[in-house]
């Protein structure tokens, strides 16, 4: 590992010294006997906590109001139709419906008439 990066620039930077801690920090942190003092509660923190509490309360109230004024959910929901016929029959019916529609709209496909006849014969109609 190369720990010696560009020295001249690094040395230029190193000639600056980081600022020391404020004079009051030691006395605020340590009592005369060297024991640690508790940090004072900053107003900034209190304001932040109060703001968070107000926002939370507002959101809660908003949620409750929304809930109380919302329309009731629909009660009567039709049950899903249960299909008892076999799948093949339904497919045939569907194809027949398509072919009838194609006939109505005068779509001319070469084998449409033959297929329709087959399907109708199959369905017995």
């Amino acid at each position: 590992m190369n720990d010696t990066a560009p020295e001249t620039f690094e040395e230029q930077l190193r000639r600056f010294r980081p600022a020391p801690p404020p004079q009051g920090l030691r006395s605020r942190l340590l009592a005369g006997d060297g024991s640690v003092r508790r940090p004072p509660v900053r107003w900034e923190r209190l304001v932040r906590i109060a703001a968070a509490a107000v926002i939370a309360a507002a959101l809660l109230v908003h949620g409750l109001v929304e809930r109380s004024t919302a329309p009731p959910p629909p009660t009567a929901v039709a049950p899903p139709r249960t299909e008892t016929r076999p799948v093949e029959l339904r497919q045939i019916e569907l194809i027949a419906a398509w072919s009838r529609q194609a006939a109505r709209t005068q779509v001319r496909l070469p084998d449409l008439a033959a297929r329709r006849a087959q399907l109708e014969a199959l369905l017995g109609s």
Binding site: E10, R15, F16, P18, L29
Partner: protein, 182 residues
């Protein structure tokens, strides 16, 4: 002991280890390391006020559980790790309401100390440092002003040493460019 403390803590107690619980030991620890810790806190925290708070919190935790320092081989590494954890803890606590946390913090310099004529002033260096990405800024601070090796930086930041070295290289290039344009 977790894996993070491995670099700074040994199981055998050291004769010189502070943390016996005596207030005098804590005061001595403060006098030895507070300046470096505060400088590091300025790099990590959003403001000098917050940096003071973080330093105070680190010492408060030590005062509550003085046994933590028993057996610590490298008090500086341990304190730097504690300080970094404290900043991350506070940031995760309040981060949701704050924007620009990651971009916050820079080194606060006292001015040009010794040597030849300065090519740039302290404020320009502070501004250039503030313009770096946080990861690079931290590595530059630890390497230049704390004179840590890449291995020590890697252990502190939980990154590979090669990553620390490459961050440092990129950061120095950026710093050069920024200071040239000042």
């Amino acid at each position: 002991m977790n894996a993070r403390d491995r670099h700074s803590r040994k199981t055998a107690p050291q004769a010189t280890a502070p943390g016996s619980g005596a207030p005098a030991a804590l005061a001595r620890l403060y006098d030895e390391h507070a300046a470096r810790l505060y400088a590091y806190a300025c790099v990590l925290a959003r403001s000098p006020d917050e940096a003071e708070d973080v330093v105070q919190s680190v010492f408060l935790r030590l005062a509550k559980r003085p046994g933590r320092m028993v057996g610590v081989e490298n008090p500086r590494a341990y304190l730097f790790r504690s300080l970094r954890n404290e900043v991350l803890r506070q940031r995760s606590r309040w981060g949701r309401w704050r924007r620009g946390d990651a971009a916050a913090g820079t080194v606060h310099l006292n001015g040009y100390v010794t040597g030849a004529e300065a090519q740039f002033d302290a404020e320009a260096v502070e501004r250039a440092m503030a313009a770096l990405p946080p990861g690079q800024r931290e590595v530059v601070f630890l390497k230049v002003w704390q004179e840590m090796t890449f291995a020590e930086i890697a252990a502190l930041l939980d990154i590979p040493a090669n990553t620390a070295a490459s961050r440092y290289r990129y950061a120095l290039e950026k710093l050069r460019g920024l200071l040239r344009n000042e």
